[in-house]
Every structure is written in C-alpha cells, then in structure tokens.
Symmetry: C2
Subunit: 202 residues, 2 copies
C-alpha cells in the first residue's frame, strides 16, 4: 500500500555533506540544501528529521566514506615511516588542491562549529581512529628499526595526530602546501632513527 521514496537518500546525503563541508553548518541554510538536492522541505524533514540530525548524518558519512578509508589505508600499509609520509602527502594534496581545496576537514571544522554537542562522540571517534592508524604504522616502523631509540610510541602517535589537525586547520585558510610539507617532513625526520645507512627520502 505505501508509497516508496522517489529519491536516493545517500545521494542526497552526499550533496548535503559537501555543503556543510565547504560552508559550515551555520552558514548553510535549509534553502541551500533544498536547492542543492532539488528536494522539497517536506521530503527532507521526513527523511532526516531536523537540520541537526542532517548534520550529524553528514558527519557520519564523512567519517565512514572519507576519513576511515584513509585511516585503514595507513594502518594496513606495511612500509613503516614511508607509509606515514605518504599519508601526509595525500592529506596535504587533498586539502590544498582539487575539488575540495581549502575546505579543510569536515570533522576538524566541527571542532569549532559545534562544541560540547552530540557531535563530540563523532569527533572523538575520528581522533581515536586516526591515532590508532598512526600507532599501527609506528609499530611497523619500530619493527623495522626506523624509529629513534627510546621513542615513546604513544606520544608520537598523538604528535602526528595533532599535526594532521594542524594541517586541516591551516589548509582551510590557504596555507602553502610547501610549508605544510616542510613542517611534516622535519618532524618525521626527527622521529626517525639517526639516518645512518637508510635513505633520507622519507
């Protein structure tokens, strides 16, 4: 008896995700969403509830479809330090060029836009996921003897995580990718064992 939905919910959510990512929550009105998705307000509210729910849904989608794949790739990359360097290379390229240049990271942006809300869980999930991926990569690097003697791995994972957030933040305001790369590169060199016979190209 009932009618079926006349649109693809995930396709809609993808469009909404882009809006929130680029413009932020508060700067994005329902009218913007209506225009971008070509849906009516009724369908929107019927399918997703309130704007706040729409926002958290977009955050979840971003975490699942954008962040998590990056984390997984890093965590399962068995190259050690080069894997970490590669992660940052991709990150910086993603943040400074292409379709999403200077958009920052939707989750990082949420830190500023939605403090102490229901989004906190998502933000902590993001942080924990990224940190875990770094931890895994550092573990591999440790096994290969690439790390500086006596390095605190947990601390190093936190360091790299903070650096990633720094990249996300600064890139949104048009930081030069060379500067970001220099900052990352120097830190990775510092974490690495004194370059005896290893290649200096991290």
């Amino acid at each position: 008896m009932p009618d079926v939905k006349h649109f693809d919910a995930d396709e809609t959510l993808a469009a909404v995700e882009l809006l929130f990512w680029r413009q932020g929550v508060t700067a994005t009105g329902i009218q913007d969403i209506v225009s971008a998705t070509r849906l009516s307000r009724s369908s929107l509210y019927n399918a997703f509830g309130s704007k706040e729910e729409l926002y958290t849904a977009a955050l979840e989608r971003y975490l699942d479809r954008r962040s998590r794949p990056m984390f997984d790739r890093l965590a399962s990359d068995d190259r050690g330090l080069p894997a970490i360097a590669d992660f940052f290379d991709r990150l910086i390229r993603l943040r400074c060029s292409g379709r999403h240049a200077q958009w920052g990271c939707l989750i990082s942006n949420a830190h500023t836009e939605r403090p102490a809300d229901s989004t906190r869980l998502l933000l902590d999930q993001h942080h924990a996921g990224l940190r875990a991926a770094f931890t895994a990569a550092l573990e591999v690097a440790q096994g290969k003897g690439e790390l500086r003697h006596g390095l605190d791995q947990a601390g190093a994972a936190e360091t790299l995580t903070l650096l990633a957030y720094g990249v996300n933040l600064r890139s949104r305001s048009g930081a030069r990718p060379e500067d970001l790369k220099a900052g990352i590169g120097t830190c990775l060199q510092a974490l690495a064992a004194p370059s005896g016979r290893r290649k200096s190209t991290l």
Copy 2:
C-alpha cells in the same frame, strides 16, 4: 559643542571578544552583544560600524592582547628548548582549564568560521608571529647545542606551529591535557639532541 562617548570603547570590545571567542561569530547575535555590553544598537553601530567590523576589531584585539604577549614571551625567553616546552605548558593549561577552558583560540576558530575573507591577513599574521617566535627560540636552542644534529630549523618551526594549532583545535572539543602534553613532549624530545648528559626534563 559635540557630546562625548558615554562608555569605554575598549571595555566594550573586550566583552565582544569574549562572546566571539566562546560562541563563534555566526552563533553570536547583535542582541547577545547588546545584552553583554549593556549598550544600545545605535551606540554599537555608531562606534564600530557593522558586525563584521566588530568581529575583525575583536580579532585584532585578541591578537594584540592575548597572542602577541605569548609570542613575545617565547621569543625573548633565552632558555632554549625549555622555553618552548614552557610555552606549550602554558598554552595547554590555558586551553583546558580556567575561565576560557574549551574555548580554543579565537584566531584558530576563525580559520573555520571565516574562510577567504578579510580576516585572512590577521590569520596569516598570527601564523607568522607564532612561527617567528618558535624560530627565535630554536635559534637559542641551537646555540646551546640542544637540537638534534642536522635539524632543519625552518621546518621545525613550522612543525611546532602546526602542533600549536592542533592543540587549539582539539582542546575546544575537550581533549585531555595529558594527551596533548604527551604529544608535545614526545615531539620536543625528538627534536632534541640525543640526551647524553643533558637533563631529560624538557
């Protein structure tokens, strides 16, 4: 002939600065400002122009009265690496406890809230100022032989700057100060010369 102002402009700006800092620009309405300053809309617009000008004025005030003193203290601290460690200690304490706990940094927050606007100059000034302070401190540390052999100082300054932004961002969402301290401490240890005879307490 003319009448004089019946209120202290800087005192007003200080109150506005706090509002924007805690709540963000978009979440702060003119009504909030009227209530907090106990001024009328007329006086406000007459003295500062638009909300946007009020915001940039608040940013400038923050940069002058909050950020710059921290930068100057760091730049003129001749202790080397301990000066840098002390800077981060103060920063983390400021961000995680006291009256402004979990407010983040007004300038860092502006990265997310106002992209590609007239604020860009302010944001770049902030970045340059912080980076210059780190550079000065690293120079001293270098002179004392505290730094790892062959360390790129410019790169290290950028690293530390990115870390500071990471602290600012994560602290706004309630990051644990111990985690932040661990991340910073490990990085500073990595930048330091292999601890031969030096104290391990950075």
